[in-house]
Every structure is written in C-alpha cells, then in structure tokens.
C-alpha cells in the first residue's frame, strides 16, 4: 500500500532517456562530472556559436567556449535555480567572449570610439554579392561592446536585461549600443539596397 509495487515484467516502468537540465544540474552541483558532461554535450554548440559570433575567429571562439564551460562547472554551486541553467550558461559564454574580444582589440576599448575599420570599398563587394560575408566583415569592424550587444540581441534573441548582465552595463546603455551597431551595419550594407 505504502510501498510502490515492484515493476512487473509485463509493464516495465517507462524510463525517460533524457533527464531535464535541472536534474542534471542538481547532480553536477553535488559534484557529479558525468551529469555535467551530458549538459556540456547538450549546450556546447550554442556556447561555441555565441563565442564565434562575438569573436569572429574559430580559434578564439574555442578558447572562450572552453573557458566558459569550465567556469560554469566551478560556479555551479552558486546557481540558485537549476531551471535557469541554460540562460545562466549562455550569459557566462557571452561574458567570456566579450572579455576575450576586448583583449584582442586594445586600441579601441571604448564603445563610443569610432572603429578604425574603413567601409568596405566596391572592390570588396565584387567578389561578394554575398551579403552574409559583408555582415560578418561589418561586425568585425564594430567595437567589441557594440558587437556583443547586437549579436546577443539579434542572433541569440536575448533580452535587454540579460544582455546588460553580460556586458556589465544598464539596459538603456545596451539599447543604445544595439542602436549604434545597427546604424553602422545599415551603412556598411548600403550597397545591397
């Protein structure tokens, strides 16, 4: 009555093959690396993609993604709500990528400094016709803070508050950066109108 009956042969209990993130997070918080490995397998592509979009370089993105995932393991005992793991991890990824991007561009640390990149000239456009590569090039010319805000908003769909937490600025500053980034990108892509 009070004990659950032993599972009968005819009706094996359904075993959910994929435990939810939150259950794995709880086990990983206890110190179970196998549980964490499942989480890494689930989320590594997105973590890497965020880093790649922010950094624009595969080697740097791999470094930032690795740093972010290892940092997540170390900081996991601080995560209060296991259900929020995914958003929490992606914020760490954005932050690590931005830090590395800033380290890579010491000459223009401030976001209000006009980036040195010259607008793509017509000769660069001839090969192109390729809008997507033109965007990648234009993104590379943005200051890291602007680029990160735009990427997280427009490619990853994060909210202003979340991005503010990643970049360490207020939501209004984030909104301004996205707007400035958008204006620059619109200019850079003007030849495709």
């Amino acid at each position: 009555m009070f004990e659950s009956p032993p599972p009968s042969e005819a009706h094996p209990p359904p075993r959910p093959p994929d435990p939810p993130d939150s259950a794995l997070v709880t086990r990983a918080q206890d110190g179970d690396p196998d549980a964490f490995e499942v989480l890494v397998r689930r989320h590594q592509d997105t973590v890497y993609r965020i880093a790649l979009r922010v950094l624009g370089d595969e080697g740097d993105a791999a470094d930032a993604a690795q740093e972010a995932l290892v940092a997540a393991w170390h900081r996991l005992p601080d995560l209060a709500d296991p259900v929020s793991f995914r958003a929490w991890l992606y914020r760490i990824a954005g932050r690590r990528a931005l830090n590395l991007a800033r380290a890579r561009t010491p000459e223009a640390p401030a976001d209000n400094v006009e980036a040195a990149a010259t607008p793509a000239g017509p000769e660069q456009h001839t090969v192109a016709g390729d809008l997507r590569h033109a965007l990648a090039r234009a993104l590379a010319g943005l200051p890291p803070g602007q680029r990160t805000c735009w990427v997280l908003r427009e490619l990853e769909g994060m909210g202003y508050e979340e991005i503010a937490d990643v970049v360490g600025a207020g939501p209004d500053a984030v909104r301004g950066r996205i707007h400035r980034a958008r204006a620059r990108l619109v200019e850079e892509l003007a030849p495709w109108r």
């Binding site: 110190g31 179970d32 590594q44 595969e58 393991w73 005992p77 601080d78 965007l135």
Partner: protein
C-alpha cells in the same frame, strides 16, 4: 538618408527611428509603420541587414570536436569531482565516499524538510571536531525561516550520522532564495 543614431531625431511622421528599427528587427512593425512612406523608406534601408542577419542566424554552428574532451578533462581534475571522504570505522580496510555521493545524501535529507524547496551543498570540510557542511537553500515562501533552518540543520546532522557515520559538527545555512509558496 540613414537613421542618425546620435541626434535621436524623429522621422517626419513622428516615429522614433530606434523604435521602428526594433519593431522591424522583431518582425513586428505597427500598422502605421507598414503604411507610412517615411517608415517604409527607413525600412528599405534596414532590409539588407535583416536579410543578412537571418542568413547568419540560420547557419548551423557545431562546436569543435575537442571542446568536450578539453572541458571534461578540466572538470574531472577538479576537487569537486575527485574528492573522496574517509568514513570513520575500526574494522580493517577503509571506506571512502565520493563528494557527490555524500552531497547527494545530505541534500536529499535536507530537501525532505517541510518548507525546504532546493538545497545545494556548497562545501564539505573535515575539521578537528567533525564535518563542517555548508549549504545554500531555497525555501518555500511563508516557511518560518528560523524553524525551517533548525529542522534542516538537524536533518543534515542526522543524515550524516546515520548515512555516513559522520559527526557533523557544523551546518552553515545560507537562505539564498524564497520561492512561490506551499502550493506553488
């Protein structure tokens, strides 16, 4: 011409270009923005960016194959993965439990306490007078915190004693969150 991001000037129709850009980026222009020639002209300027963005966002990106191995090598080398605690006992041979086993046992006991929603074991230390356990807890809203903390502490001590043979000297509790309520 292009939207000036600095002046904050409005379009001739009175539309804030920043708001227009946000509506277009979200794919949700207002009825006015759909119909107004000024807004449509501004939208035409933004169109290549949105097309390029959608193309980039639609690309599938896969993590490099080494990433998982590199991450897990670091994770498995970390003390939280490797640490094992020796259990007290007089008989020949030693018994050791992994950190994750001890933490799960203490956590499960703590989470059975009424009013306790979720517990994280943040630290387990062997000290001179016994084990020191540090936990962070999320409690149900409305649960009386002093009584709940006392019951949680006692549950951890009892689970340590009965489940592991530990003398738990100290249970430090941080109430990190209060959520929902008894029903939610």
């Amino acid at each position: 011409m292009a939207v000036d991001p600095v002046s904050g000037g409005m379009l001739p129709c009175g539309t804030d270009p920043q708001e227009l850009a946000e509506h277009l980026a979200a794919g949700e222009p207002t009825d006015h923005e759909r119909a107004c020639p000024h807004c449509r002209a501004a939208a035409a300027e933004t169109a290549p960016l949105l097309a390029a963005r959608d193309r980039l966002a639609g690309e599938r990106v896969t993590a490099p194959p080494r990433l998982l191995d590199d991450v897990m090598a670091a994770v498995r080398a970390d003390p939280r993965s490797r640490r094992a605690y020796r259990l007290p006992g007089e008989e020949a041979g030693t018994t050791r439990v992994r950190r994750r086993v001890a933490a799960a046992l203490l956590r499960t006991a703590a989470e059975r306490v009424p009013g306790v929603r979720h517990v994280r074991v943040r630290d387990l230390r062997e000290e001179a007078d016994g084990m020191a356990v540090e936990v962070a807890a999320a409690l149900d809203a409305g649960a009386p915190i002093p009584e709940t903390a006392r019951a949680l502490r006692e549950a951890v001590r009892r689970a340590g004693r009965e489940g592991l043979g530990w003398e738990v000297a100290v249970v430090d509790i941080e109430v990190a969150d209060v959520r929902g309520g008894p029903a939610g």
